[in-house]
Symmetry: C2
Subunit: 375 residues, 2 copies
């Protein structure tokens, strides 16, 4: 294998692929990046058997890619990315010699890195006759941002470490829950009528996907097989395994009625909860209280060791019963951040029932939070 390419283009490819490199593994080949040079294109692949990223670079005037000798090699991701990062912004030449020893040359600089036979690298999942849907990168980012944080981090129930992705009834919906709070968000989809499917994608993988999506809004093609999902953005392929099992039926825990409804400025509420959370931060449940009396909300928290805090904020609108309720401040702050709304609407069914937070005037999802029962 032998090719030349502009240093920034090679670095960019390696940085994107690096996100799927195995960190803790005893299989050395999984800590590497597979480089494949073919006529007119370079492909970099990393695959830790859970997440796979394949970046393809076609030769163009900017990246100056030129393949002199097709071939493939696996190089340690940890060294390769750092080596290329520290090279000057010039043409880089990469060539494989005997015993997989790979020469990386750039101006007066000459690195030799031990490589691994490309034949040892695991094959990416194959998608045959899979179901597919076209969305946009902006939508994917929004769906992930609004839901993935709410999934469980503990592996006690592996299903809850994933995001439930459903296509059907005219929309694509992402839902995540850790058992104490739930986040769901959907977008309308014209293609949704044609096919219906529901899968569970690991949250961690979706968060990584959101990171490598380009900043500008581009089409994303989503494929689903029995065992894997695949997001294709331009020439970048993002593979993730699916979590097996049946996701719990979350629709039945979302209340359809309410006894108290409050509309309030989201920043005003977040600032008050954030301050109150200071006093609660060393308690495991981060307990903050709302005492809602008309449009006036008393936000408070207390700790026998540290002290207490209390603040009165004004809602824009309130309907229904007055209410005292206690909740985990971290859950509420994360929900408000996920909504990224100017005004939010809260709906309560008394102090012991889960309450919801929605973006005011938007019908695209909700955040549901279990209260802390009075103690």
């Amino acid at each position: 294998m032998k090719f030349t390419i502009a240093q920034p283009a090679l670095l960019n490819v390696l940085q994107t692929a690096s996100k799927a490199v195995a960190v803790r593994t005893t299989k050395q080949v999984l800590t590497g990046i597979l480089l494949q040079a073919e006529a007119g294109r370079l492909i970099a692949t990393a695959y830790d058997l859970e997440l796979g990223i394949r970046v393809e670079v076609p030769a163009d005037d900017v990246n100056m890619l030129s393949v002199q000798e097709p071939g493939a090699i696996v190089l340690s991701a940890r060294y390769l990315a750092d080596v290329v990062r520290k090279l000057p912004n010039r043409e880089v030449s990469v060539g494989v010699g005997s015993n997989y020893m790979t020469e990386i040359r750039c101006g007066e600089v000459e690195f030799h890195l031990h490589g691994i036979d490309a034949a040892e690298f695991p094959l990416l999942p194959v998608f045959q006759s899979s179901q597919s849907l076209q969305v946009t990168s902006e939508h994917v980012r929004e769906l992930v941002r609004a839901t993935a944080f709410a999934s469980a981090t503990s592996e006690v129930r592996p299903i809850l470490t994933g995001v439930h992705v459903e296509l059907g009834t005219g929309r694509l919906q992402f839902t995540a829950t850790d058992g104490l709070r739930l986040a769901t968000r959907w977008i309308g989809s014209a293609e949704a009528g044609e096919s219906a499917w529901n899968v569970i994608i690991p949250s961690k993988s979706l968060v990584e996907l959101a990171k490598i999506l380009p900043d500008d809004d581009v089409p994303v093609q989503l494929y689903v097989s029995d065992s894997h999902s695949l997001f294709v953005v331009g020439t970048t392929h993002f593979y993730t395994r699916l979590i097996e099992g049946t996701y719990p039926d979350t629709t039945r825990i979302i209340p359809s009625t309410h006894r108290t409804e409050v509309a309030i400025d989201a920043d005003l509420m977040a600032d008050a909860v954030d301050r109150a959370a200071l006093i609660a931060r060393d308690r495991e449940n981060h307990m903050v209280r709302f005492e809602i009396s008309g449009t006036s909300i008393q936000v408070s928290s207390s700790s026998s060791e540290i002290g207490n805090v209390s603040e009165r904020i004004q809602a824009n609108r309130m309907e229904g019963d007055d209410l005292s309720i206690a909740f985990n401040a971290r859950y509420v702050l994360e929900a408000l951040r996920a909504l990224a709304a100017d005004e939010v609407v809260l709906q309560f069914n008394g102090p012991n029932q889960p309450f919801t937070i929605r973006e005011s005037g938007a019908e695209n999802g909700l955040q549901l939070i279990s209260p802390i029962l009075w103690r």
Copy 2:
């Protein structure tokens, strides 16, 4: 105690003092900040018995300080600074009630924090008939930056965890060494003739001092007693204990002759050593080699597991014998960063002797590094 003050002014005082708050201690009072309100001024003090910072704020039109009732209280630094940070940018009122419970009020927000009796707070060291010297904050920052990094981090020889600060023979000189490299830097001082002293100040304290020095160049008054040093910047007092003992005589290890002298662009050398260090980074000694042949320097490193790197760079000037020498790349990179020079001059006495790096054309200090003997 009762006073009001603008939120940004109170936050600023707390953030500066916080640097001296004890982190790991069983004495709760040391984790606090002592607030003292007196007629026309507020004083915040933190003192972990090694490092002490006392910030005084005289009332002015910007900070809007108004002391209604003089007094003092100790409040948990961890909570106090975060509480004030999260308050709106308005007037803050602080008042102590019964049982040291302290009310912090700002608009609609009301915190109550448990305080500790100010009488429990340790007294700062007293400086009587101490020796003193006036320098500038720019000079202090430069002396610390150029030397403190080279001191030892291990407590095996406590003396080497400090910086040797000497006044005499017309200059103020800072020296640090960990036994394998040495950094020294001095400034001329007109006051140096009058008194001579030499003390050892903990490196960590000097690094904290450098952080709180204001960005603009202001006078700094330095006092030294038998047990402590004190840096006074405006109304901020920075106390540190001295390390007891006699600092080793480092002048005798600084070579007065050389067999090879090289002048080279500092960035060119740093980039090449940084690249070569990649291959050496998993070895404890970070070994990189220089092969100097005339003005040409071959920079290289190799590892049986990872591979090797080699690069030829050009010196601006070379005098004396050709030379092969191996060194710890981290030491050389830190020395180059400390010098912050465009061109540096390296002087060698063969492959087994310590070599020096100086700023080209400047007579204000040097970096000395022990080579790695060929293995």
